[in-house]
């Protein structure tokens, strides 16, 4: 018996020691990598000050800088479609003409938002990655700073989304207009709609005309896909107020945004559902097949960003029928639409120096010389670039870019999103699906729902101690 007890003790001791040892090791490693990353960026900053102005990234001359680097970098992104059709490989082949010694491996996934978050949280992720929705305060721990906000801002558009603490950590792979309506122009003509609707009432009337005069589904909600509802919410702010300081600042300090500023957005959805102007069985919608349906005129319109246009055009044999208009709200007779950056390229700050440099060279190439952004109808990232023809449909609509959050309040939006559980633009679907359910079943009124959301929003402001009125 004693021997057994002794053995049990030994076993327990061994187990604990091994666990303690593991724990220590992890901590040590973290400390080391952080240190290395820290000193590297420090020394880079020092070098930059001593030699020339600007960061390593800004001073890259494509085809000249870093041609001696021999390494393999991996790039993790969400464009499974372009990976499968070989488009990404074309850009990389173009890159390898300049840098034959830098091998780029591409990894893509359909559930990028989630997968990338998991990788980033674990600390073990690819050399070049598209920044997922993490708190901005985490950027310096994970990504290489590409340059200061001021000097990058002179050369590039849309730098604000990846800027934290005066440093730019990423550049968008494309930028577009958000929150507008992709529509089938043929169906609109057939229905007898002559003017682009600019108010919620005019839009609902147009949908009614479509229902009467054509066989098409007037408005397709993509209810079952869920994430499509996030596409409605860029309109909070710019489209509904014309105020570029609202979304990242005013909203955080507004105690009742939903019953005032944001209401027209939800009004459109609520009224469309209540008047039976959406798909028949919304619980079984399918994102993939909606693309072909709008191309063929079975669907009249969808609320989406311009990023979706190429997919809708390619989904069938009538690409020219696809049009894009601003979300039907006006402020004093003027329509606004939000222009914004999509996913940002960022370079991992916890890999070897060579890989960090190669990653930055690759990002610079993709942004400036690959032509990628232009091929997918993006607004120019480099200042002075060409604007694609598709944006002519938005003539007369003012395109605005949101201002970034004020210094010291960068995390307010994310914190409120989490605390209130409203998850504006990041996981809007449970909330928006509930709105559709209520509208369809004649439950709560829109005012009730808006008041509920406001209560959650202001409750979160109170919990987090954010001033609001």
């Amino acid at each position: 018996m004693k021997k057994k007890k002794f053995l049990a003790l030994v076993l327990a001791v061994v187990l604990t020691i091994s666990m303690v040892a593991c724990g220590n090791e992890v901590v040590e490693n973290n400390g080391e990598t952080n240190e290395v990353a820290g000193t590297e960026t420090d020394s880079e900053a020092v070098e930059a000050v001593e030699e020339v102005t600007g960061s390593y990234f800004e001073n890259i001359v494509l085809g000249e800088t870093g041609t001696d680097i021999e390494t393999t970098i991996s790039w993790f992104n969400h464009r499974t479609d372009l990976d499968e059709n070989g488009k990404l490989a074309e850009y990389i082949a173009k890159f390898n003409e300049l840098y034959p010694n830098i091998i780029v491996e591409v990894e893509t996934t359909t559930d990028y938002a989630q997968d990338s978050l998991v990788r980033l949280t674990s600390g073990d992720f690819n050399d070049v990655i598209m920044i997922p929705s993490i708190d901005k305060s985490e950027y310096p721990n994970n990504f290489v700073s590409l340059g200061s906000k001021d000097s990058m801002g002179e050369k590039y558009n849309f730098i604000d989304t990846a800027t934290f603490d005066e440093n730019v950590y990423g550049l968008p792979y494309m930028a577009g207009a958000n929150g507008g309506v992709v529509y089938n122009s043929r169906i609109f003509t057939e229905a007898g709609i002559t003017e682009t609707p600019a108010t919620p009432e005019a839009f609902i009337d147009a949908l009614k005309l479509i229902k009467e005069n054509t066989d098409a589904t007037p408005l397709y909600t993509n209810y079952a896909a869920g994430w499509c509802f996030n596409q409605w919410e860029p309109n909070i702010g710019v489209a509904t107020t014309g105020d570029v300081d609202y979304y990242n600042n005013g909203l955080n300090h507004d105690s009742d945004p939903f019953s005032t500023v944001a209401k027209p957005i939800y009004q459109v959805l609520y009224d469309a559902v209540a008047n039976d102007l959406i798909e028949d069985d919304y619980t079984t919608t399918d994102w993939e097949s909606c693309k072909a349906k709008i191309n063929q005129g079975e669907i009249a319109c969808l609320v989406l960003g311009t990023w979706a246009i190429p997919q809708m055009k390619e989904a069938g044999d009538k690409p020219d029928d696809i049009g894009y208009m601003a979300f039907p709200v006006s402020v004093d007779g003027v329509q606004y639409i939000l222009a914004a950056a999509d996913y940002n390229y960022a370079v991992n700050a916890n890999v070897s120096e060579d890989n960090q440099k190669a990653g930055q060279i690759f990002v610079k190439f993709m942004v400036e010389e690959s032509g990628f952004n232009n091929d997918i109808y993006g607004l120019p990232i480099v200042k002075g670039g060409e604007v694609p023809a598709i944006y002519s449909a938005l003539d007369g609509v003012t395109m605005l870019e949101n201002l970034p959050s004020p210094v010291g309040e960068e995390t307010f939006h994310d914190d409120l999103n989490s605390e209130s559980e409203l998850a504006i633009q990041s996981a809007a679907d449970p909330r928006m699906c509930a709105l559709v359910d209520e509208a369809a079943n004649g439950g709560k009124t829109l005012d009730d729902i808006m008041a509920e959301w406001d209560a959650k929003w202001s409750g979160a402001q109170e919990t987090l101690g954010i001033d609001a009125e």
Binding site: L7, M19, T283, T284, E421, D437
Partner: protein, 330 residues
Amino acid sequence: MNVLAQKNMKKKKSFREWIKTRKGQQAIIIITFTFIPLLLLFTFTYLPFGKMVEFSFFRMKYTGPRNFIGFKNYLDIFTREDTLNALKLSVYYLIGAIVQLVAALYFATMLSFKTRGGNFFKGAIFFPYLISGIAIGFIFKFFYTRGFVLDSVLQLLGFELENLPYWLKNTAINNWSLVFSSVWRYMGQNMVLFIGAIMSVDVEQYEAAKLDGANKMQQFKYIILPSIKTIVLLNLILAVTGSLSAFEPPYVITKGSNGTATYFVLMDQLAHEGVQKVGLASAMAVVLLFIILIITGFQKMGFKILFNEGDADNGKCKKTLIKSFTKGGK
């Protein structure tokens, strides 16, 4: 003192010798062999579980700072409307599970005796269990889509499409639609467990019963059912824990919309994507664990009273208890 020291000396000396004996060698082998599994068990089950319990006392996201807020998350769970509603949804799955068990028992009894095409039916009924839950979700999503599989079949039988309900849109029936997909999937597994148990019943008992004039129903009631009591209990407990933790059908088919968000789906919504209330979701998991423990305890007591004999089952019940314990923890 002296004696103790002597004893220690003696022990040390004898340990060396002892290690060379057969028993000592056995012990070494046992330790070396159990070390890795125990380590894995600890790292991948108990350590994450401990962490989860720890998280439940914080207001935190995956990254960023963590604020200790005591039992606030637990209080929130019991004051929120959605968590309580989610628990109520379990009743649908529980009723479904009972129907499933009765059907499984029926088929198992039928197929344990010589039936024409018995093996075929065994395979056919068990088959859905082999398909992944996600795939089943997609199958049923299209199955229930307006004008698709189910509607077409019913139309062939003479129903008019206009008179058919929207299987997933109509809030009066959409939870039953989801429950059905779960019953379809798990009935085969229950049936196979029952068949296994029924096979162990001594065939001579049936003959004896027949000679005494017992019919099939009586044979089932007095021979089969008492012999497979343990398995029935096991399946019942699994059914309860399963219905409390129903996840795949609502997650894949409806994404928890339209009043179908079960406890697990809600937990997923709160823990991931834009919300990231990791602390609250962890607290929900801990609460679920306790609910399952309590219900399992009651069930065991109930069975003890019902059959007035718990001893024979005791070992197995304990195992089940542990099983549900770890399941709830995940």
